[in-house]
Symmetry: D2
Subunit: 406 residues, 4 copies
């Protein structure tokens, strides 16, 4: 969601003030860490929160290169404010696909030492530039999809430098994927539709971390939640949480809202469109715009048009109308402002500290996928509690001894 009336600088400041964990990590690092002389390349949705991360990496002395991660999500005023801070920015809202590809290449050709990747795009692109790839000392990956790809690479031996799977850290997975996606998805749906959620049949496809978060928040807003799954263990869990579980074909007959969060393709497609209720609302919070099969829908529908900002109406051959939000793209990013600031504070603190860890340890690391070091997770959790003024217990020596003796 673009906002023109305020400057990028103000937006960055507003976000920065709500990212105390990252601020603390920077402060604690300054005395004994430096990224001086190192180049960090990152591809991100360029808006206020990500700008804060880029800016702090520069604070630690790095040369920072930023490219937007797709053609639509860059906020130009933020990009400009970031550039004014001396970060090298390659991004433009509404750029063409060709421009976007050029932006990413710009990162690569600057020969980064460290990369911060989002979905595996930078790693993939580096395959075309073996000479630059050879110079990369390590990187971090933010998403489930990206980590899945890296695991495949590790297995087939095509990982050429150490990568840290930031996505898999508890402090990322529990909060970003679940709580972050949950809140921001509902935000996107509420602001886009102005429709009532309570009392509605709300179908969540996929009960991984993202699906759990969405189901929890939809219920929190009063919906009657239905979960669809392919994994029986997850399906049974959803059921014990009090949700109804059924196949998508059956859910289609009664669902008012549908959110896909499976990480797979064709979750709602030609098999289902004809069975949907008149007025059904479809959107996606999981993966690119392939979970709802938009191409099939466009061909299946007699006509379609935008009827409200970010809402496209599809008239089906049966005359029933169904509605898709944000063209099937990630509804929380394309129709809202993405994850809450404080959630990104955690995720970006993990990114920041992982880059520092790489900078210290890359010499000892193999061409493998590494977890976030546990001490980093604990550091972030402790700083987050502390930022909220929350204290916790510590084990007595007796208690520690007992645990070890068991």
């Amino acid at each position: 969601m673009e906002e023109k009336d305020l400057s990028g600088k103000q937006k960055i400041e507003f976000a920065q003030a709500r990212m105390p964990v990252l601020a603390r990590a920077v402060e604690d690092s300054l005395s004994h860490h430096s990224l001086g002389g190192k180049k960090v390349a990152m591809t991100i949705h360029l808006e206020a929160k990500t700008a804060v991360l880029a800016s702090y990496l520069k604070t630690l002395g790095a040369d920072v290169y930023v490219a937007g991660s797709n053609t639509e999500t860059t906020q130009d005023d933020v990009a400009q404010a970031l550039a004014e801070q001396g970060v090298n920015v390659f991004a433009k809202h509404g750029c063409t696909q060709q421009e976007q590809e050029k932006f990413l290449r710009n990162l690569v050709v600057h020969e980064p030492d460290f990369i911060i990747d989002d979905g595996g795009d930078l790693v993939a692109l580096l395959d075309n530039y073996p000479e630059f790839r050879a110079k990369v000392l390590g990187g971090c990956e933010e998403t489930t999809t990206g980590v899945t790809r890296l695991k495949a690479r590790e297995k087939e031996g095509s990982l050429h430098f150490p990568m840290i799977a930031v996505n898999d850290s508890p402090m990322k997975k529990l909060f970003d994927n679940c709580f972050g996606t949950g809140q921001s998805t509902m935000d996107g749906i509420l602001r886009t539709t102005n429709m009532k959620v309570c009392g509605k049949n709300f179908v969540v496809a996929g009960y991984g971390h993202c699906g759990k978060g969405i189901a929890m928040r939809a219920r929190g807003l009063g919906a009657n939640v239905i979960v669809t799954e392919v994994n029986p263990v997850k399906a049974y869990q959803a059921m014990q949480e009090g949700y109804r579980v059924m196949p998508m074909m059956q859910a289609c007959l009664i669902g008012d809202f549908f959110v896909t969060a499976t990480g797979d393709i064709n979750v709602i497609d030609n098999r289902h469109f004809g069975s949907l209720k008149d007025g059904a609302i479809l959107c996606n919070a999981g993966h690119f715009d392939v979970e709802v099969h938009m191409d099939q829908l466009r061909r299946y529908a007699s006509s379609h048009r935008e009827v409200r900002k970010n809402i496209e109406e599809f008239v089906l051959p049966s005359k029933k109308k169904i509605f898709v939000l944000a063209q099937g793209k990630l509804v929380n990013l394309a129709a809202a402002d993405g994850h809450p600031i404080e959630i990104m504070d955690l995720s970006f603190s993990l990114q920041f500290l992982s880059v520092l860890y790489l900078a210290t340890s890359y010499g000892k690391m193999e061409k493998k996928l590494y977890p976030v070091p546990p001490q980093v997770d604990r550091y972030v959790a402790k700083a987050a509690l502390s930022a909220d003024g929350v204290k916790i217990d510590t084990l007595t020596s007796e208690q520690e001894k007992y645990l070890q003796s068991m």
Copy 2:
């Protein structure tokens, strides 16, 4: 929230398609009711949902006169589309206070037979025009505040025509005040701040229907909710619902978000500002911009400025910064799109059927405040269930007899 990219006509159509109860009420009424030759004057927040009501009153044959209910909430494209349907519209987004007053006078001087009032403004204005007031056959009132005023008038004998307290109907109170305010308030907060709600101390001032709805939804989004109250019965109820209850002075020390919904003034004022935490977010969902004492805050603060759309930052003498959403106005209207469409479908069905009831029955009614006739409430509930395809039980004759015999 103004949206410029789509026509008012489309917006009205989108809303209308989600108001099946009102559509059904209109359809069922057409054969045996008419408002032909009658003038209906209404003051409303002029956006898509209210336009649907105005339009349907015209369908029943009435001459309809509409004025926006304040200077900020009119959507000009909707106003224009409504005017094109032959409704007489007096409203302009961003008009001056003087223009606004003139708009209301325009309603009065057209000598309405029936009025639909919002907060008691039209009834009050009519006092200046006794000759027109004498011609009014009856009216409806939508809000708690308006009904409170009407009760005072009834008591002191200054009610000059029958009024129906639509606000007090179960189908209004339970859903509009509680569920409607709950969802739309959280919508306003989410989209305006992009801040995390879960894990935050979320203070709700007032535990009436509105406060209950907000508390319920804030908890549904993961917040740790604190309720402040002056009524011990309500306070005790909030506590049994699992919320913390404490005086506002104490809540100030720990609250991250504050929403006022008391219907009274100065709920957060000079007594409290200095005790708020750095970064606290204040907003109002209850009553005009007097619940958070904005005048005192502006004087108390060293400086203030807008830092994000609808967010004003106040720097206090202590250097702490606190933030007010939507200038202390109703955050769900001023920073979001108001109640969900389906909620207004219920409330406006009650309004519509109450006007029809007045049109049939005004001759037999006194200068009193009347409840919505119970059969209207039941009609609306049944139509709402039916619109969602939900069936319910009916008593057997044996069961009815038993109930009567007890």
Copy 3:
């Protein structure tokens, strides 16, 4: 549930320590109220909590006469301990119906000044003793059913002394009927069946205060709750709370647990038994054992036997087995210990203060049904908050003035 190993005295002490509101009310009353020379007759489920009320009435100087309210719920050790305190007790666990009737007559023939009735039985019995009825100065009624009956009497002119509808007080209705029934019903089901509630289809018949409480707690234990109703407004409310709503016939096909709370007869009867799933659990939390039609079930079943304490198995002609808890009697009383102590603290404080109010005011009262005086409700709410150490706000004079001026 009988417990033999501890003395009634200890049980009474344990309950008394958890009834701070009643203790406070007694303490505050002693200096300026007395029931000296007055006879108070009460019919109650005679267990520790009710014994505390009886005992305190004696503390205020009354001669107290207590009869158990049915043949099964008296705890003999408590009855004995109460008798030892000088209260006149007529009650025996497992007495015959004839003995029970005699116990009630014992109350009447002692010519009570004030009565505390439960379900209207004492008021009904007094019709047979017009000479004693004429001496009754007033009474209180605890239940919804009793109040319904009293309203009928008031209408037809057969109410012979003032009665206070304790049941209708907010501090009773909100907490006793809703929260009390909710917790104790689930307690009864859990301890009786040892069955999992989460993930089960849990059908609640009736969405009044009791049904709401049960639905809320069943969901709180992870169940997927289905509500059946005959009133469309209540049905729509249940739906907006996120429950499924459907006719009982449909619920029978999928329900795992059924709880009736309608206050009517034959909620589950011959129409439904054949449609129940194998293994379905039926119980009642609303009204006598007539909500589930036990007589029909006994005739319909091929055989029945007790299979676990308080669980009766019915083998249907189809060979399916269904199970009824506590013979269809109130599951929270017959298979658990009734409402939580602190809930009865509120209800009995209302009873106690209502009797004192009657003692002061009966001379000015008519033969009508009165609400609990609002100051009593507020007193109880304040004392309850205070007992938990909770403070609330008070209106400033400015705020009071504003409210009055509106």
Copy 4:
């Protein structure tokens, strides 16, 4: 909780009818698996649910030897019914510690091929009988504590046969530890105290799977839940779920109920007793009776006595009274009936299938700790869904291909 009025046989039948997953596993196994000629030794809380498992192992042809797992939890009528089915039972309610040790030795000296252990006791005992230990082909462990011990053994090389960590399977951990402990702990508290939970400060010590389940259910009953933790990641998670998090010392000042579920000692001890509120209720749902330091409490208190079944009152030097349920033992087992039947159906199905897996595969297994084979987890999940009539989706070949290609 002992029930004398019904025969053990009926109790076993009632449980068996609610264990469809295990029944299905047995049925599916009979054609191609046999335990004929094998001896299975198990130590368990001997009541109806565990009897069903023992009985089914016999159905597969095994010689089954059962010992109760402590001196208190055996139900004698169930033990007798099981013995009548030809299972070798060594257990007696209220036996001495010496008898109990003898019972366990009886298992060992019968030279079992497979063991089902609970907390690691059998494995430990076998160290005294190296000749019998050498004959054990493998075993399963049910609890977190037991698995912790096995891990230590594996590390130090003192594991002498393959063990399967049933506890760590998702179908065990998610449901038994979390949902099972949650429901049964609240059951124990409700039936023992008859106290109100809603509106109370409910302190849960430890936010592992058990703690999560308890916190979730306490909230579901209306409590205001406070979590104490030593792990910052878990603490932060509890906070984001909307609970308050604080050190135990602070929680003591405000808590009404305390449940420990940490798996460590001295969670509530002399540091805390003096700070507790008058009337505080303490209990344990985690680990033996060492989480609440009972010895210290008994010494600290001026006096103590039983005041209600399973409730012990401790008068502190300050005259405050605090109350401990079930002597600090597992409140869900000692004061209720343990996990719900359907939960044990899952856990015991995992046990049963793990024993069959061992019987087939022990030859290829090392002296290590193994996870439950993933196909067993999926089998149990599918059978559980199927038992409830729930169907789920399956991936299309296109979807499978896409997942693999990522």
